[in-house]
């Protein structure tokens, strides 16, 4: 039986304080929910270990893959050509450079986008689903800090801490 408590915050300072208090109270990080309507990347919200991303790496991998396809596509096509195609070179670097370049870029874009979706865990059901009324408050205020847990006392502690940190609205969900 998982229960969640969500608090809406208006300033990053309050939200940061709330997160700090929750961590101090011994609530594990993976149980703390943070959502914001604009990038909030302070260390309290995004610990250093979560900042590691392989997106650049995969972009490069995609680029290399695209480059390989870009080179082999025209060459293979010219070789597979079943009919006389008359005097044109099978590998023509000047002409193929353009095809290679475009497919390299396409590979890099593909690598980036796929990695983005994988690392951000999208598409997915939104992690924090406040009620419709609270959602409106949230998008205008800007931040949600919450806790999910299966023990009643954790939720109660979180509720208190969120209120103390200055949460504007608190919602319990089960």
């Amino acid at each position: 039986m998982t229960e969640r408590v969500l608090g809406v915050f208006e300033t990053p300072a309050d939200a940061r304080r709330a997160v700090r208090e929750l961590v101090n109270a011994g609530i594990p990080r993976q149980n703390i929910i943070i959502c914001s309507t604009e990038p909030m990347l302070d260390p309290e919200f995004l610990p250093v270990e979560d900042r590691k991303t392989r997106m650049s790496l995969w972009a490069i991998v995609g680029a290399i893959l695209g480059c390989a396809i870009g080179y082999s596509l025209p060459v293979t096509a010219a070789r597979l050509m079943g009919l006389a195609s008359g005097g044109q070179p099978i590998v023509s670097l000047w002409a193929f450079a353009i095809v290679i370049f475009e497919l390299t870029a396409l590979g890099a874009i593909g690598g980036t986008v796929i990695t983005f979706f994988r690392e951000a865990g999208l598409p997915e059901r939104p992690r924090a689903i406040p009620s419709a009324e609270m959602a409106r408050t949230f998008v205008d205020a800007g931040l949600i800090v919450g806790v999910s847990g299966d023990r009643m006392e954790t939720i109660e502690i979180a509720d208190r801490l969120l209120r103390e940190a200055g949460a504007r609205e608190i919602e319990h969900q089960r």
Binding site: M81, A84, G86, G87, Q88, A95
Partner: protein
Amino acid sequence: MAKWGMVIDLDRCTGCEACVIACHAENNLPIVGEEESAKGRQHNWIRVERYWEGEYPHIRARFIPVLCQQCDHAPCEPVCPVYATYHNPEGLNAQVYNRCIGTRFCANNCPYTVRVFNWFDHHWEKPLDEQLNPDVSIRTRGMMEKCTFCIQRIHRARHQAEDEGRDIRDGDVQPACVQSCPTEAMVFGDLDDPDSRVSQRARSRRAFRLLEELGTEPSVIYLKGDEWVEP
């Protein structure tokens, strides 16, 4: 492998345009009419250009029959995205009608402007459709076409030669324009064979090729005297 070529002696050309008519009849070229011609859509695979030479009163018209030059380095070939135009093993600049998607890039890139586009479907009223050549396709709208050096005649000559178990002899193939030329200004044959008539004529001191400076290496060679003396 033969390398087909043509020599046109401009000193013999009278500008009678028999070649144009013969080409029309042989290759199923449509007659597009006055209105379309005025728009620049004459449907000719060969045209006779007329230029004036000299100053009045010592003036003379000169004629140049211009057809597809069957270039060895044809600018039209690399730009076709679908290989509808390519170089055939016999040195012909081929145009495959049903492969053509009609980008018209080849026509733009042809320095001789000898490629012809089918702006519409063509119809031959009865009984004119009976005179269509069954050995040549009827092209439909949206595709490019041009002089083929009468490829159907090359095929026919080859078939006959094969059946008789020999190679094609010089003079076996005569495109319609060559055949119809009353002054025998045009000669067709194998440029790789040094003894062929076309090779002999091509070695003439009077030989030149159209827009030679572009490096397109045309297979059509023109002959023209240095000077023209008034008769």
